[in-house]
Subunit: 435 residues, 2 copies
């Protein structure tokens, strides 16, 4: 019996590409057994030479398109990132009948529908386990393991940089900007951390997760975004006093005729396991009609964890090819033709409980005035902390947890509270999810 060799090509030999090569090299006989054949690295391409990387004798090109055009290559791994050259490369590879594996969340959030459709048309796969939550196999879980369920919500810590920053702020009472600088020094945050901080990175991953979970076409710009920089150390402390942790979550929820999609700092009851996921770890909590609640926790980034996810996709394809079977070409678990296009609920209509923090004069009638602003808009109060008077401060911090109310209502109430003469400065407002 001859066993088949599946030839792969890697475009981009940065941290993830090097991780993939390491796992390939370490795979040995076990990897061959799992594939039912062998995987050969046939071609690598990097814009600048990478002589320090042992590419196992593969062809080595400066032009990534050479891999897409290489008749030897059956599976192309796109690890160059970005949405310009990467898009052209993936299209070229699919058009040349290559199966494609990518870790590129930005590309798929922006152009997924077009690329998934092209893959189906060409009869090849476009897989992306590594694009969301790094090493956590959440794409496979939603696409395959929960296929007998209707997903009702997904909520995830899907940006490790943001979680590292919040964890450090909580552990050491440090300011956001201070911890961000440290994260950059440690290599946990990019030189330009805008997309990690403002929620863009998490929103791209959320779009992919929600598309899969709900079988839906979703625009990259659909999620509401509030950045992790809107949290102050004082909020983390007060939240803890109230029995909550603050995490920066991507949340997608199915409503009757629409979807909620939002990325924001969130107070979570400390007894929920996801509230305890700290540091650079990621976590995804899925609620679904059959299973109930699932939580998956693991490394959301890094060379080897991300490579583990890339390899899962590569092996899945290689296993089919080695058995002379057609791999499953439905990137979304269903044909793109069957995807729905649900309405996205405007953030002003999204209800949640709320955490408010403000400074107010400590004199009779002030609390009554504040609570009246809330009750005007039908918002009840769940708990309230008023910090004791201090000689040093003209005003004292007041912290409120409210019942559920729509964003529009809380915003109107806050405008009224901020206009009270006894209240100083803006009201800090964060969402609470009791899950």
């Amino acid at each position: 019996m001859t066993t088949k060799t599946v030839k792969i090509g890697i475009c981009g030999l940065g941290t993830v590409g090097q991780g993939v090569i390491a796992l390939l090299a370490e795979g040995g006989e076990v990897l061959s057994h799992r594939v039912g054949g062998s995987i050969e690295l046939a071609h690598v391409a990097t814009r600048t030479p990478r002589p320090e990387v042992d590419t196992m004798g593969a062809k080595d090109s400066r032009d990534v398109f050479a891999v897409a055009h290489d008749p030897d290559v059956e599976v192309l791994i796109e690890l160059i990132g970005g949405t310009t050259v990467a898009k052209d490369l993936v299209i070229e590879a699919l058009n040349h009948g290559k199966h494609v594996v990518t870790a590129n969340k930005a590309l798929l959030a922006d152009y997924g529908e077009e690329l998934f459709a092209l893959a189906e048309e060409r009869g090849v796969v476009l897989r992306f386990e590594a694009a969301v939550a790094g090493g956590i196999p959440v794409i496979e879980a939603v696409k395959t393991s929960l296929a007998g369920n209707h997903v009702t919500s997904v909520a995830g810590i899907i940006n490790g940089t943001g979680n590292f920053i919040l964890t450090e702020m909580a552990a050491k009472g440090r300011e956001f900007s201070d911890v961000l600088a440290e994260a950059q020094a440690l290599g946990y945050a990019e030189a330009d951390p805008t997309f990690d901080v403002d929620g863009t990175d998490a929103a791209q991953k959320l779009v992919l997760l929600a598309s899969l979970a709900f079988g839906a076409r979703i625009d990259a710009g659909a999620p509401y975004k509030q950045g992790v920089d809107s949290v102050a150390p004082a909020d983390i402390d007060y939240a803890r006093e109230l029995g909550y942790r603050i995490k920066h979550l991507g949340i997608a929820k199915r409503e009757a005729d629409a979807l909620q999609l939002r990325v924001h700092p969130t107070l979570i009851p400390e007894a929920k396991a996801i509230a305890q996921v700290d540091g650079v770890l990621n976590a995804v909590m899925i609620n679904a009609s059959g299973v109930g609640e699932l939580l998956l926790v693991g490394p959301g980034a890094g060379s080897r964890p991300t490579a583990s996810a890339v390899m899962a996709d590569v092996i899945s394809v290689a296993r089919s090819l080695a058995a002379n079977e057609q791999p499953d070409i439905h990137s979304m678990g269903v044909s793109v033709n069957t995807l729905s296009q649900p309405a996205i609920t405007d953030i002003s209509e999204v209800s949640s409980a709320w955490y408010l923090r403000l400074d107010a004069e400590d004199k009779p009638g002030v609390m009554a005035a504040i609570t009246q602003c809330l009750s005007h808009h039908g918002i009840g109060i769940e708990s309230l902390i008023q910090k004791p008077e201090s000689a040093a401060l003209a005003k004292v911090p007041v912290i409120l947890l409210t019942d559920e109310a729509p964003t529009r209502a809380i915003e109107q109430a806050i405008a009224e509270i901020e206009a009270l003469p006894s209240v100083g400065g803006p009201v800090t407002c964060l969402r609470v999810e009791n899950f």
Copy 2:
């Protein structure tokens, strides 16, 4: 374009079978899109009639073998449990060219190798996501998502009854037997709870998980077992005082030339997320060469969660059949011919840190005598609690956490400690895993 209908049969309409029918009925158009065709319940069989269950117009037999012989049925779901009739049924179904999905961990722990080999020989699948950790997709994770890794260890809370009992003991300071009775009344424990209590149920699941994770043939009797009934409320309290939680874990670890397989109560540092998994939930922590550490948490039993796992397997097969592709027939992710047969490390050689609890006279020299028994055997002490003298007690509790030492060494040290005149009664001894 005509879409294919995949016909399935269910043997056993207990709680899981009814869950499967519920998820099928709820699946609707989305399920058809995921399958790329439709699933039809063609035949059900139960020993006694179940008129209360709506079987969607399926044929209804009293003889489960009628399903295995039904030429209409392509996929047989075995939910009758046990290892006698179920074994014959699965063999008969495989021999008749049916794909089989089962939730039967006892059957596969005892006869998996034979049945998986038969499935491969007949060119059909034998899938079992529901057999381990209920709704948590841990089989798929290990088999597919971690295929690019070498797994180094698996540690799981894989018996919900045991976890419920420990959680209740911890929350209310109640005795084991008392909580067990309540668990039986609530339906969380079987009328005969032997297999939940003594670790047999967890050991069966561990054998399946470890077989997959390590590509190994493992005998059902291989794991060392210590029951959850070896934990007293006092141990839970003292563990907490030391910063630990006690969980009943199934643990499999790869050593250089052998495997460790063991099921026992375990002290885990409270900061580890798995230490916080309470109630009837299950959790599986996997360490692997690429991804590092993954944790999966969810419901380990129950009608709909277990049905969710069964449906994942059914849909996976149906999707291939609907596309006229051959489903992947390798139940273990590799051909059974390639499974290794590693040695199992004798429990006496397994090292871990240890928790010891004993009663000793509170007088000079006693602690020195105890610590000397440990140091005789090369065992260092990590921390020690001596409870204050009480007028009511001739002896006081002493709690020790040791450094890592083999089971043999700690047992010898304990025998010496128990022989000290100043120590009363047996020494309680539990393993500590710092992970």
